[in-house]
C-alpha cells in the first residue's frame, strides 16, 4: 500500500532530529566501530575477515556463556511474566492491602545496585545469614554462590527486582478490558478459566510485547549484581555473555569481544522481530 508522505509528516522528522543526532554520535558510531572491530585484529587493526567470528563460535567459554544467557532468559522471562500475571489478576480487586502489596513489590526496583550487593553478600555467603538460618533449623547448609544454585540465586534476584514492575504493567492491561465483555461471558455461562483463556489472554497480547521487551532489557542488567557479588569468574551456571565480554576486554581481546557482540546483536534483532510479529499490534 503506497502512501504519499504528507507534507506535515516531515515535521516528525524534525522532532526526531536532536535525538537522532545524539544517538548517532554517542550510541550508533561506537556500535559501528564495534562492527568494524569484529572484522579486524585487536591491536594492529588489520582486516581479518571472518576469522574472529570463527574464533568466537568455536570458543568454549562463548558457548557456555551463550547457553547460560539463553537458559537464563528462557527461564526468567516466562517465570516473571507468569508470576506477575497471576499476582496481577489477584490484585485486580482494588483493596488498600492490595495497594500496599503492589507498592511493596515495586520497591525493590528503587534499591540501588550497590546496596543490593551488600545484602546479597551477607545473605548468600557460605557463612551467611541464610545458611545460618538453615543451620539453626537443623538443615544442612547450601553453597549458594559456588554451586549450580548460583543460577537460581540469579534468577531469584531478577524476579525480586522486576516483579513489581511487571505486575503494574499487567494490571494496566487487565483494567483496559471492559467489564461488559466479562459480564456477557458470564451470562453465557462461561467458567472463570474459559474466560481467562478466551477473553483475558487475547486482549493482553499487546501488553505482552511491551512487558517482554522491557523484561528482556532488565534481564541484561542482572549482570551488574552478579559481577559485584561473584567477580570475574562466578560459578559456571552464572557465567553470562557479559562476563565473557568483560574478561575479553581485560585480556585485550577486543576483536573477539566485538564479534561476540555483533552476534548477540543479531540474535536480539531476530528476537525483537519475532516478538513484534507475534504481539505488537501497531
Amino acid at each position: 500500500m503506497k502512501r504519499r508522505v504528507k507534507r506535515g509528516e516531515w515535521a516528525g522528522a524534525l522532532f526526531l532530529l536532536p535525538s537522532l543526532g545524539g544517538v548517532l554520535v554517542f550510541v550508533l558510531v561506537p556500535f559501528v566501530d564495534v562492527i568494524r572491530r569484529s572484522f579486524a585484529n585487536a591491536i594492529t587493526e588489520e582486516w581479518v575477515g571472518l576469522k574472529n567470528y570463527g574464533d568466537v563460535l568455536a570458543n568454549p567459554a562463548f558457548r557456555l556463556a551463550c547457553w547460560n544467557t539463553l537458559r537464563f532468559s528462557a527461564v526468567c522471562l516466562p517465570a516473571l511474566l507468569g508470576i506477575s500475571l497471576v499476582i496481577g489478576v489477584i490484585l485486580q480487586k482494588k483493596t488498600k492491602l492490595g495497594d500496599g502489596v503492589k507498592t511493596a513489590f515495586l520497591f525493590p526496583m528503587a534499591i540501588p545496585v550497590a546496596s543490593v550487593v551488600l545484602v546479597w553478600r551477607v545473605l548468600f555467603e557460605k557463612q551467611g545469614l541464610l545458611n545460618g538460618l538453615l543451620n539453626s533449623w537443623g538443615l544442612s547448609t547450601v553453597e549458594w554462590m559456588d554451586s549450580p544454585t548460583a543460577f537460581w540465586v540469579l534468577v531469584g534476584s531478577y524476579l525480586w527486582k522486576n516483579l513489581g514492575y511487571d505486575v503494574v504493567l499487567w494490571m494496566a492491561g487487565l483494567s483496559s478490558i471492559s467489564n461488559a465483555i466479562y459480564e456477557a461471558a458470564r451470562i453465557d455461562g462461561a467458567g472463570e478459566w474459559t474466560i481467562f483463556r478466551r477473553i483475558t489472554l487475547p486482549c493482553l497480547l499487546p501488553t505482552l510485547f511491551t512487558v517482554s521487551v522491557l523484561s528482556l532489557l532488565n534481564s541484561f542488567k542482572v549482570f551488574r549484581e552478579a559481577y559485584l557479588v561473584a567477580g570475574d569468574y562466578p560459578h559456571r551456571s552464572m557465567y553470562l555473555l557479559q562476563h565473557l565480554f568483560n574478561n575479553w576486554f581485560r585480556d585485550l581481546s577486543f576483536d573477539r569481544m566485538a564479534a561476540g557482540a555483533v552476534l548477540t546483536a543479531m540474535v536480539i534483532l531476530c528476537l525483537i522481530g519475532l516478538l513484534r510479529k507475534g504481539f505488537d499490534r501497531e
Binding site: 502512501r3 508522505v5 516531515w10 515535521a11 516528525g12 522528522a13 522532532f15 526526531l16 536532536p18 535525538s19 537522532l20 545524539g22 554520535v25 554517542f26 550510541v27 550508533l28 556500535f31 564495534v34 572491530r37 507498592t103 511493596a104 515495586l106 520497591f107 525493590p108 528503587a110 534499591i111 540501588p112 545496585v113 550497590a114 546496596s115 551488600l118 545484602v119 553478600r121 551477607v122 557460605k126 557463612q127 551467611g128 545469614l129 545458611n131 545460618g132 525480586w160 516483579l163 503494574v168 504493567l169 494496566a172 492491561g173 483494567s175 483496559s176 501488553t207 528482556l216 532489557l217 541484561f220 551488574r224 576486554f249 569481544m257 566485538a258 557482540a261 536480539i268 525483537i272 499490534r281
Partner: protein, 274 residues
C-alpha cells in the same frame, strides 16, 4: 491474598536489613558479620532486626566526617540531573515524532532505537571511550551525562504514551491552525505528562545507579558518583558501608514514592490504549 502479603514482606526484607544495619553500632555489626568477612570461618553470620545498641554513629560519620561522600553525592546529583534534563529535552520530541508522524524510515529507525537500547555496556565500552576521547569529553562529567541523555530507553516509554492520545484532539488542534511545535507543546506534553514523568522516574533510578560508565570514563576519582561508593567490606568498614548503602537508597526511594502514582498512571495509560 495473605500469601501475597507475606511474599510482599519478604520482598522488602533486604531493605530492612540495610536500614537495621545502618543504625547498628560498629561492634554489634562486627559480631554479626565476622563469619562472613574473615578467613577462618566456623560460625555463621547472624542478624537482629532491632539492634541491641542502636547508634547512628556510622550515619553521622558518613554525613559529617567524610567530605568525599558529599562530593560523590553532588556528582550523582549532577549526573542524574543532567541526564534527566537531556532526556526531557531530546527524548520527548523524539518520542512525539515517532508517535504521531509517519515519515520515511520511521519503522527502521524505531527498530534501530530498540536494538541500541538493548546493547550491554561492555560491548561498546572501548569504542565509546575512544569516541568520547576524540571529543575531549573524557574524565569530565559530560562523558557520563551525554550518552545517558541520548539514551533511547525513555523514547520507548514516552512513545507509548504519546500514541495513546486520541487523534481527535490533535485534529481539532490542527484545525485551529496551530503549527506542529505548538501542538506538541500545548497538547502532547500535558496529555502525555504521565508518560514523561514515568520516563523520568525510571530514568532517575537508572542514572542514580550507573556503575560501569563512571568507572570506565571517569578516571578522576573526585568525579565519581555515589553509586561507586562500595568499599570492599572489611570489618572496620561495615558500618559506613551500610550507612552509605542506605543513604544512596534514600533519594531513590523518595523519588520512587513521590513518582509512584505518576508511574502507575503512566504505565496504565501506556498499556491501555494499545
Amino acid at each position: 491474598m495473605a500469601l501475597l502479603a507475606g511474599l510482599a514482606v519478604l520482598v522488602c526484607s533486604p531493605a530492612v536489613i540495610l536500614v537495621s544495619g545502618c543504625i547498628m553500632d560498629g561492634d554489634e555489626l562486627r559480631l554479626y558479620l565476622s563469619p562472613v568477612l574473615l578467613e577462618n570461618r566456623t560460625s555463621f553470620a547472624s542478624w537482629s532486626l532491632l539492634p541491641q545498641t542502636p547508634s547512628l554513629r556510622s550515619v553521622v560519620e558518613l554525613l559529617l566526617d567524610s567530605p568525599e561522600f558529599f562530593h560523590m553525592f553532588w556528582n550523582s546529583i549532577a549526573i542524574t540531573g543532567g541526564i534527566l534534563l537531556g532526556q526531557l529535552l531530546v527524548g520527548a520530541p523524539a518520542a512525539w515524532g515517532f508517535a504521531r508522524y509517519r515519515f520515511p524510515l520511521r519503522g527502521p529507525l524505531f527498530t534501530l532505537y530498540l536494538i541500541l537500547m538493548l546493547m550491554p555496556f561492555q560491548v561498546t565500552m572501548l569504542s565509546s571511550y575512544l569516541a568520547l576521547d576524540r571529543m575531549r569529553l573524557n574524565d569530565t562529567l559530560w562523558a557520563v551525562i551525554l550518552p545517558g541523555a541520548f539514551s533511547t530507553f525513555p523514547v520507548f516509554i514516552m512513545y507509548r504514551f504519546f500514541r495513546a492520545i486520541p487523534e481527535a484532539i490533535i485534529e481539532s488542534a490542527r484545525l485551529d491552525a496551530r503549527n506542529a511545535f505548538q501542538i506538541f507543546w500545548h497538547i502532547g506534553v500535558p496529555l502525555g505528562s504521565a508518560g514523561i514523568v514515568s520516563a523520568l522516574v525510571l530514568g532517575f533510578l537508572e542514572s542514580w545507579n550507573l556503575i560501569e560508565q563512571p568507572m570506565a570514563f571517569l578516571k578522576n576519582k573526585t568525579l565519581w558518583p555515589l553509586s561507586l561508593y562500595l568499599p570492599n567490606i572489611g570489618l572496620s568498614d561495615a558500618g559506613p558501608a551500610f550507612a552509605g548503602a542506605v543513604l544512596t537508597l534514600a533519594p531513590a526511594f523518595l523519588v520512587f514514592l513521590s513518582g509512584r502514582d505518576h508511574l502507575e498512571q503512566g504505565i496504565v495509560a501506556s498499556a491501555v490504549k494499545e
